[in-house]
């Protein structure tokens, strides 16, 4: 029987060639897989392991053949880095060469790889199994190459949302700069919700400032004050003059009448004494030294009008309801002396004559100034009646770190196209990215701009499972009412002190448990004439000139309300043997290195000779037992004291000055 050959001979040849080609490809794949980079790496590791470990340890070590991967479904990651980084969790490889070396630090114990993988912290291509494709170095067409150590803290910030995350100082510094610069007033920035940043309200600025100063300020705030928080808005001369006319026309509320003040009788020596006594420099800097909460005063005489200054010192809250500045209880003569002192001491050209406020009539110029004010979003920081708050004018920064770097503008800057570089340039030089920008130039140093960019680069699309997020504790505003509330408002206690995390941080003493810490009578007395408890702290509590009745109200409220139930009342009488043992401990532990007692000892911590009259014994014991829990970052070391030792030290300290009972304190702390 003859079988008919259906295929023509040419197809035979084609099939044969195809077969050979498949065979070649198959053997090439086999060869390629066999010669993969990670296989030779693992072979090197096995040799290294054999040289480092004795046979017993070798037997215990897991075999290292094959690919290793960590799958984190909730993070959407597959990390095969462990295929080559084989000694990463084994201290025996501490000095081994890359890629076998042990992971630096103790990071793996706080971030175990089976929960955190590698790329969530380091970036890079976790699924790749060779050096190049894992993007250890930036590679064309590979997104998210590994972060160098210098910027790795940006990835800490993806989970650690607190403003001051532990062990990430660069991130913390960046977030501090963002909070201080007030970026979140124009941009919605995840993690900065609830913070406020305010410049002065401008409704009566026509009565406040001198026209010459305003012209300089609008041209570039740094010309008047190098550390100004306001950026340079790069206004054209026309915009600038319109805005100046518009602002100087804002005169909603005249200052408190000071026509009856006889300025010729002003005693500037008394003003100088008051300036020191009121502790103005705790919040205001002069000649580069002092606090930063209030405006710098070095050239304040060039900036504001005298009647306005008098009025502001008399009642700061009338003109600026939100100001952190407290209202002192001063007589008109004292206010006059203080004002005259400020104008004599802190102005560059002597007391230049003040022209009366000018009224601008040109409606076109005023309208133009108003348009500039609205367009540049001035209202985000400065309240002004009649200007609608239009919300944040800058773009929302949520997910900014996940923007596609190739879609972002870089202008004429020759930089690698990365989100980091874009953010950095935008922060440093917002007008050089090839697009008109409404954002002011803040004049950051490159290092500061890089730190801010690092903090912003931690803001990823928020698809992290909540179990990974270490959040920022929510802060409820604390607004007490009644008599105490009125005092808190008048003396602006919360500008420096905090309650429940709300308030300022200039003071080292949050008020949350102050009633459990301080003796009632001590508080009532201290408020009348606050001295320095810590000699080395420069910012001090001002002398408020408050009445004894007011001081007692505050002390009562502290004792009744700001109490921590966890702190033992402890008001037991101590045995003499405890006191003696405490005194011994005081010497043995070297407390004198930091604390002064009488004339001996250091001045890092509080002077201790009046401790018994100042502190409640329960607090002393609680503080000594776990200082870091009450004040993270404190210089008071945790000595790991036993309960008996803590009690003995408490007995000794409580016996100093007051014996724990209410006795008159001899002499105040220096």
């Amino acid at each position: 029987m003859e079988i008919k050959n259906v295929a023509p001979p040419r197809l035979h040849i084609a099939f044969a060639c195809l077969g050979v080609a498949f065979l070649l490809i198959f053997s090439w794949v086999l060869f390629h897989e066999g010669a993969a980079e990670w296989r030779s790496t693992q072979a090197r590791f096995r040799r290294l392991q054999a040289s480092l470990k004795n046979p017993h340890q070798l037997a215990q070590a897991a075999s290292v053949g094959g690919l290793r991967q960590i799958w984190l479904p909730d993070l959407g990651r597959v990390d095969r880095c462990g295929t080559c980084h084989l000694g990463i969790d084994d201290p025996a490889f501490a000095t081994a060469p890359a890629p076998f070396a042990t992971h630096a630090g103790t990071w793996l114990s706080t971030h175990p790889p089976d929960r955190f993988g590698c790329t969530p912290c380091h970036d890079g291509q976790g699924q790749a199994t060779d050096y190049t494709n894992a993007a250890h170095q930036p590679q064309p067409f590979l997104a998210r190459p590994m972060r160098p150590l210098e910027t790795i803290e940006a990835n800490c910030g993806a989970c650690h949302r607190a403003l001051n995350p532990p062990d990430a100082p660069r991130l913390a510094e960046g977030r501090r700069l963002i909070a201080d610069t007030g970026c979140f007033t124009c941009h919605e920035i995840p993690g900065f919700e609830g913070l406020t940043f305010r410049g002065p309200a401008l409704s009566s600025i026509g009565y406040k400032v001198r026209p010459g100063w305003l012209a300089v300020w609008l041209h570039d705030p740094k010309d008047y004050l190098p550390q100004s928080k306001m950026g340079n808005f790069r206004l054209s001369p026309q915009e600038s003059s319109g805005l100046q006319a518009f602002l100087l026309s804002q005169r909603a509320q005249p200052p408190i009448d000071s026509t009856g003040i006889d300025w010729m009788r002003a005693n500037t020596a008394n003003g100088r004494a008051l300036f020191g006594e009121l502790r103005c420099v705790s919040c205001h800097a002069v000649n580069g030294r002092g606090g930063t909460m209030g405006p710098e005063l070095t050239r304040i005489g060039d900036k504001v009008r005298r009647e306005w200054m008098f009025s502001f010192l008399k009642d700061p809250h009338r003109a600026q309801p939100d100001t952190p500045m407290l209202q002192y209880r001063l007589a008109d003569d004292q206010l006059r002396d203080l004002t005259a002192f400020l104008f004599e001491e802190y102005s560059s050209g002597g007391a230049a004559p003040e022209s009366p406020p000018v009224t601008y009539q040109d409606a076109r110029v005023l309208a133009e100034g108003r348009a500039v004010f609205e367009r540049r979003g001035c209202v985000s920081c400065h309240q002004l009646a009649g200007i609608r708050d239009t919300g944040r004018i800058g773009p929302n920064l949520a997910g900014i770190a996940d923007r596609d770097p190739d879609e972002l503008p870089y202008g004429s800057n020759v930089v690698r196209h990365t989100t980091d570089n874009y953010i950095f340039l935008k922060v440093l030089l917002p007008d050089t990215l090839g697009q008109p920008s409404l954002m002011p130039t803040f004049g950051f140093t490159p290092a500061d701009a890089a730190t801010i960019a690092l903090a912003l680069a931690s803001i990823r699309k928020s698809d992290l499972p909540v179990s990974y997020v270490v959040g920022r504790p929510a802060q409820a505003p604390y607004r007490p009412g009644g008599k105490f509330g009125a005092l808190v408002d008048r003396y602006r206690c919360l500008s420096c002190h905090s309650v429940g995390g709300y308030g300022g941080d200039l003071s080292t003493v949050p008020l949350d448990r102050v009633g459990s810490q301080l003796q009632h009578d001590y508080v009532a007395k201290y408020l009348l004439n606050p001295g320095a408890v810590r000699v080395s702290v420069e910012a001090r509590m001002p002398v408020f000139h408050m009445t004894a009745d007011e001081a007692r109200t505050i002390a009562d409220f502290f004792a009744d309300v700001f109490v921590d139930d966890k702190i033992d009342r402890y008001d037991a009488h101590f045995a003499a043997v405890d006191v003696r043992r405490g005194q011994e401990l005081y010497g043995q532990l070297g407390c004198r290195a930091c604390h002064q007692l009488g004339t001996k000892g250091g001045y890092v911590g509080p002077e201790l000779s009046g401790t018994g009259a100042r502190l409640k014994p329960g607090w002393i014991a609680a503080w000594l037992s776990q200082p870091q829990a009450y004040k993270p970052g404190t210089l008071q070391p945790d000595y790991g004291l036993s309960a008996a030792d803590a009690r003995a030290l408490t007995a000794y300290l409580a016996s100093l000055g007051g014996g724990g009972t209410e006795r008159t304190r001899e002499g105040t702390t220096p």
Partner: protein, 142 residues
């Protein structure tokens, strides 16, 4: 010359011009990274050492001084005075430094004035401090 040959020539010329153009543009940089590195280099410190410097500034400088010379603002109150940590003969050994920092100077038989930080700082923080203390000796002022 045929049409295809002239096309090939044109493409070749274009390719040469393009490659020359590519070579003449400057290499794109990483200004953000450069800024951070410049700041770091100013102290001539590695990443871990600069972390240690931050901790040193917070916890140690009051007595040991900004550069570890034993000239902090509180040093004059101390007897014995704090040693010069940058001196060539001061302890460089990581184990020794870890002991002093975490258990206090009393743990190595010296005065109790330098307190133990082992209960207050994390192991990581102490490790950073140790490398910074080692770097203090390396960075002799020139």
């Amino acid at each position: 010359m045929t049409r295809s040959a002239s096309h090939a020539l044109a493409i070749l010329v274009l390719a040469v011009v393009a490659s020359a153009g590519c070579r003449s543009t400057p290499q794109p940089g990483d200004p953000m990274l450069d800024a951070i590195r410049a700041k770091e280099r100013s102290g001539d410190l590695s990443y871990a050492e600069s972390q240690g410097r931050n901790l040193f500034a917070q916890y140690c400088t009051t007595c040991h001084g900004d550069e570890g010379h034993g000239d902090g603002q509180n040093a004059s109150n101390l007897d014995p005075a704090p040693p010069d940590l940058s001196a060539p003969n001061s302890g460089r050994d990581a184990v020794y430094l870890t002991t002093v920092i975490s258990q206090g100077s009393v743990a190595v038989g010296r005065s109790p004035l330098s307190p133990p930080w082992g209960h207050s700082l994390t192991h990581q923080q102490i490790a950073y401090l140790v490398v910074y203390c080692q770097a203090l000796g390396r960075r002799k002022p020139t």
